[in-house]
Symmetry: C2
Subunit: 754 residues, 2 copies
């Protein structure tokens, strides 16, 4: 639908050796990252130390216990999915497995806390306020006020390393398996020696659907042998005579020097040390989802000594290696926003395999079988309803070798469990959210030229999701969908989103049909692309909305398109209302324009969405909408204007600088694309809608193993120029294709409105 | 102090081959045992299947949950030390490690319950009433009314075997690690296959002093592979938003087909089967205190198949091998009382080593080290404050080879931990009760001629307890005791029993002094025997009581000798009042007679004890008192009369047929001795006081590896004869020595009063 573009290659390219030198002399991309962004306003990121796509991170944990003055948000009082909340002030340790930017409480366990003086084992009592916080990629530090202990953390892919600086006296380090962001309970530990503890903690049941769990295994080693040690456990509440006799009724009971295995809901271990002034004691923790032995091997391989500064330096280098794929010239504030956004886009999916390649396989039967990646990465934490929209396209553009392995992992899950993932966590399919986003993600990846995975197997997997009529965990109600052309509202268990589900199926079918075309499967292509057009069944000419429809073809009444705006249940819609989903056929906006009665009515409807506050920057279905102005010739400046406005309004260099949950990096990926000035309109559609770039110059280093171009340069046009240009040829509308961009060259976009 | 006795050997001896033949033709001793005796009136025995001195037993568990109509006694509402209470009616499974006759709640875990129909995992809901109970040594059966399932249990030394007979339909077997008599929590399990579960459960903190715990490991195997299986866990109570979202808030959550390790306070696993009418499914459980691997090896060795009937038969044979050391002629009722008493005397101490000889060593440092018995038994569960009085003397008389190994185990504990045991449980010193009873037990054993242990090491161990002034865990306040001659009341943390403690030290010192004499250590003998006389410091001439005394020598006032009668705290006395302890210098009753002002005053005081209801048959300090009449010439018939009266009053062939806690067999040992007509007056004193025998004829088969005699025959005198006779020579008073009896021969005792 868009005019052909003329392409000219840019000759500009900064060699990576020059870049490294430049980095040393000036601030590197990692230096601009502000890990506190997203730690307020429900962003659900954390400022802890982490590697890109790491299995382990070390995050400050400040969400346990209500506290009138210190803790505004308590982890269980609300649906809190955050290990760290900027407004909170009461810290109870550092957790070693953490999720970033998700919407349900999970992980946030293997909690280690340093204290001083007499041993207190009740976290509510040993917790402390903290100050002097500082965080950079791969490093976090703070000072625990109550004990005047400086706590620092860094990490490798599979190990955390903390360094605690004590004063003279008695230092204590407490490993608490009871505390956890997860609502799942249960752990087991054993003090192996005076400087080692091993064990496991149960996690899982993400969003409680389904109720599946897994153990996470750990080995913690201390840089100094403990002078004394022990375990502890919260005892239940006894009443009557036993309540009187129990020395630890409904309270913490300690087991000095206990060396056997200890299991329970709320257990822990402690190590005590005589400390001199400024004495540093380090704790390294190896994590595995396979076994204690693997956790120990991960630790031995990645952190054989206690090399804190070297580890911190390596982590920063690992971040810079990825962040520097984009080089920018512009304001420090914009650099911070961009690199922080890119940082948050490089956390999930995260690896799950151990250094020996072992990982827990995904099985419908929940068997505890172990697979081996044979040298590849096995990724986990697939929040595909979110990330299929823009995060994976971003990875395809910038890091195709990583995205390809993410597809590999998804295909391995298909091999193991029989189905592609939907919302996968630690090899568990959580069935969170709706649709068939793996199909959208995989087809999109291949169409972008990232084809280093088994496309034949992938195609079979996607077809299975698309065509299995019954007992289809990916596409429930697929028989109705295929028969009627939409998922009818009739059988909704209250509010499971028949419209939303249908729309996701159309998106997936469009992507699959486009892939079928590319693979030369013409009949398949026709079939799936026709299915994608089924959205027209749900278009209600009277309201101009995509509306829930009965099996009989009738519209159920009454109908309120505003219902669902505040996340209250709304028949037909998941996480949104009719407005939020109004234009959610991103693969066929021209078709939607037709349905709505032409360009003018479409622009009116689009404007009305923003004007009536029915646009939600914080949720995925509508995040493409600010870019939809491009579909009407002459309205492209509206896209630039709206995107700029939304960035200014929702994205800042502050803890509240994300518009709600980062959604495993989806919001951040939106920001990264938007700051570059391009946005992928739909999975399977190779068009990027253009807006304005936030920088004086952007250099994207392309991976030449995948793309013909070496670099893509993006710069702003002069203020009076209103037509974007690719390689000095005018783009006659506001779109440019992925294939054009990955040829490399120079893209000139509208100057920002000031 | 007693006159010399003339000895004549009895020629009577029934050969053991003749005995076996006789057993086959008529009821064997085991057939007379009623395992329900002691399951009411706080006896704390259980009717479950068990081997003599076994590590494992399989007991019905009916003490969970309050139930207005069904469960009169709930395990946590009172200080309940019983897995099974006869009055209760609500059964929630069968437990595989159990204590017998103790006074604190411990063990009662590894709980397995069969159910039928839909799967219910909440024990409060799946529990059932039961009927048609039957129990014999090594066998228990009942029918679960709710499911019409016949449940049978038998066992070997280290394994339990249950057989459940289902109806046609759906059968379920639930392993619940949450339920437990112990107040300790926490377990871990893993479903290994469709017919095997392994795991561990924490137990310990017996009487909460000190707070030490241990894991008990298990492997459970099923005779039929499960059709479906899973684990479950009790979830905590969440409030607010999370409470609304949680599908299993404050309730049981199941994890179908979960195969990873699961840990927690309240967890379990289930196996489900399609069953035909009368289908029997068996579950065998191997137990170990060392490791899961050892539990599996115990199971493979002792129960390689599912040989229920053979196992039951072997268990009965093992019991008969021990019970038949005493043969009797008399009423069936008396046979039941005697053999049930002997059965209860042969449960603790019980073995703790695995088939490979491994056991958890006793360490002050709680290190999880493992020892190896090298073919011997390692005994555990030493309730020595109780059992040193009569149970170990009974074992020395009847089973010297067993008693010798019990001393060996106590000495191994000394080697491992530095101290002899006091109240040892699973290689943990619980420090329950007072005194130095291991010294009394070991010295007594040696003096009885059971000398097949390392007496030199034993003597060093006993001297360490006796002579270590400070930090002496066996004899706290030993410095005061040695300086003043008694433990002063001054430093009592309210009511820790200065008089009781002193009296126990005197008893131990008497035994140790007597041993020193026997070993030729004359100076030591003088020292310890002199110490034993220290009781005179506590004798208050005004009240005629052994009374708490201050360090200054003053008696604290006010003073009420009745205080403590109902187990309320009484300064100076543990578990009793001044009356209960009044004559508790069993090694020197003649001395006490002198202090009290002569025979007549002594007899008056003794009679007053019984007359004023200040004698407590259910507690140890005074259980020798009915025999003390023998110390006054001409009063011997009073002993016979009192003992007969107490037996009739407190010991019956009924669930309430024990006078309170059996105290690890101490009450039962009292009954056995009393029915024979002899009673060991004091540890270290080789005199038995005689009373009357309850039988027409008693034949005690002596162990000729230890004793010169082959059999000891006890018969009643004619009613008009008032002087007991040994080998047809009149005993001039009511005593006979252990050495006399173990020569073998014929003892004729007073005829029972009718």
């Amino acid at each position: 639908m868009k005019a052909l573009l003329t392409i000219t290659l840019s000759l500009f390219a900064l060699s990576s050796s020059t870049l490294s030198l430049a980095q040393e002399q000036q601030q590197s991309p990692a230096d601009f990252v502000n890990p506190f962004v997203g730690t307020s306003n429900f962003g659900a990121t954390h400022p802890g130390a982490q590697y890109p796509h790491a299995l382990t991170s070390v995050a400050p944990f400040n969400v346990a216990f209500e506290h009138e003055k210190l803790n505004k948000f308590e982890k269980d009082a609300a649906w809190n999915s955050r290990v760290y909340i900027h407004e909170n002030k009461f810290l109870t340790g550092f957790t070693h497995v953490n999720l970033s930017g998700v919407g349900c409480p999970e992980l946030g366990v293997i909690n280690i806390m340093p204290t001083a003086g007499d041993l207190e084992l009740d976290a509510q009592k040993y917790g402390s306020t903290y100050s002097d916080e500082h965080a950079k990629p791969g490093y976090y530090q703070t000072t625990l006020d109550k004990y005047d202990i400086k706590a620092e953390a860094t990490s490798t892919l599979r190990t955390g390393l903390s360094r605690y600086t004590f004063n003279a006296g008695q230092g204590n380090i407490i490993l608490n398996l009871g505390l956890g962001l997860t609502n799942e309970t249960g752990g087991s530990l054993k003090i192996v020696s005076d400087h080692e503890i091993e064990g496991s903690r149960t996690v899982g049941t993400f969003c409680y659907n389904p109720q599946d769990v897994r153990p996470v295994y750990f080995v913690a080693r201390f840089s100094k042998p403990a002078k004394s040690l022990g375990t502890f456990k919260k005892m239940p509440k006894f009443t009557g005579v036993e309540g009187e006799w129990m020395q630890n009724n409904d309270s913490i009971k300690s087991y000095p020097n206990y060396r056997h295995v200890m299991s329970g809901d709320n257990i822990g271990a402690y190590m005590r040390f005589d400390t001199e002034a400024k004495q540093q004691i380090e704790v390294k923790v190896g994590i595995s989802y396979v076994s204690i032995e693997n956790a120990r091997q991960n630790l031995a391989t990645e952190q054989p000594t206690f090399a804190f500064d070297e580890t911190r330096s390596k982590a920063k280098k690992a971040w810079n290696a990825l962040l520097s794929r984009i080089e920018v010239q512009g304001s420090d504030n914009n650099k911070t926003l961009l690199y922080t956004g890119l940082y948050h886009s490089l956390i999930h999916p995260s690896i799950i395999q151990d250094v020996n390649g072992e990982y827990p396989i995904m099985s419908q039967q929940h068997t505890a079988q172990v697979g081996n990646t044979q040298g590849k990465n096995r990724y986990s934490v697939y929040s595909l309803w979110d990330t299929s929209r823009n995060l994976h396209p971003l990875l395809s553009l910038l890091y195709p070798e990583i995205q390809s392995q993410m597809v590999d992992s998804a295909l391995a899950m298909y091999q193991e469990s029989g189905w592609l993932p939907k919302w996968e966590l630690l090899s568990m399919e959580t069935q969170t959210m709706v649709g068939d986003p793996a199909t959208a993600m995989i087809a999109d990846t291949y169409l972008r030229g990232v084809d280093t995975f088994d496309i034949e197997q992938a195609y079979r997997a996607m077809q299975k999701s698309a065509d299995t009529l019954n007992n289809n965990p990916i596409r429930p109600e697929n028989q109705d969908y295929l028969t009627l052309g939409y998922v009818p509202v009739d059988d909704e268990e209250p509010y499971d989103g028949s419209v939303s589900t249908s729309l996701e199926y159309y998106v997936a079918d469009f992507a699959l049909g486009s892939l079928a075309n590319a693979l030369g499967h013409e009949q398949d292509a026709l079939k799936y692309l026709t299915r994608a057009q089924g959205y027209r069944h749900l278009f209600d000419n009277d309201t101009g909305m995509l509306r829930p429809k009965k099996r009989s073809g009738e519209w159920p009444t009454p109908y309120d398109p505003e219902l669902g705006r505040n996340f209250e249940p709304a028949p037909g819609y998941i996480e949104g209302n009719a407005w939020n989903y109004r234009f959610y056929v991103p693969f066929d906006i021209p078709g939607m324009i037709d349905l709505l009665g032409g360009d003018s009515r479409f622009i009116d409807a689009l404007n009305a969405t923003f004007a009536t506050n029915n646009f939600d920057m914080g949720n995925e279905p509508d995040i493409t909408y600010p870019y939809l102005f491009n579909y009407v010739s002459g309205q492209e400046h509206q896209t630039a204007l709206n995107v700029q406005k939304l960035m200014a309004q929702h994205f800042t260099d502050q803890p509240a600088g994300l518009p709600g949950n980062d959604d495993a990096g989806t919001m951040s990926a939106w920001l990264v694309f938007s700051m570059l000035g391009i946005y992928p309109v739909s999975p399977g559609d190779m068009d990027y809608a253009t807006s304005s770039t936030a920088f004086d110059k952007v250099t994207v280093h392309l991976d030449q193993a995948y793309y013909p171009g070496k670099t893509l340069l993006i710069t702003p046009l002069a203020k009076d120029q209103k037509q974007p240009m690719l390689n000095n040829k005018t783009l006659t509308n506001g779109f440019v294709t992925h294939q054009q961009l990955t040829q490399g060259g120079s893209l000139k976009l509208l100057a920002p409105v000031e």
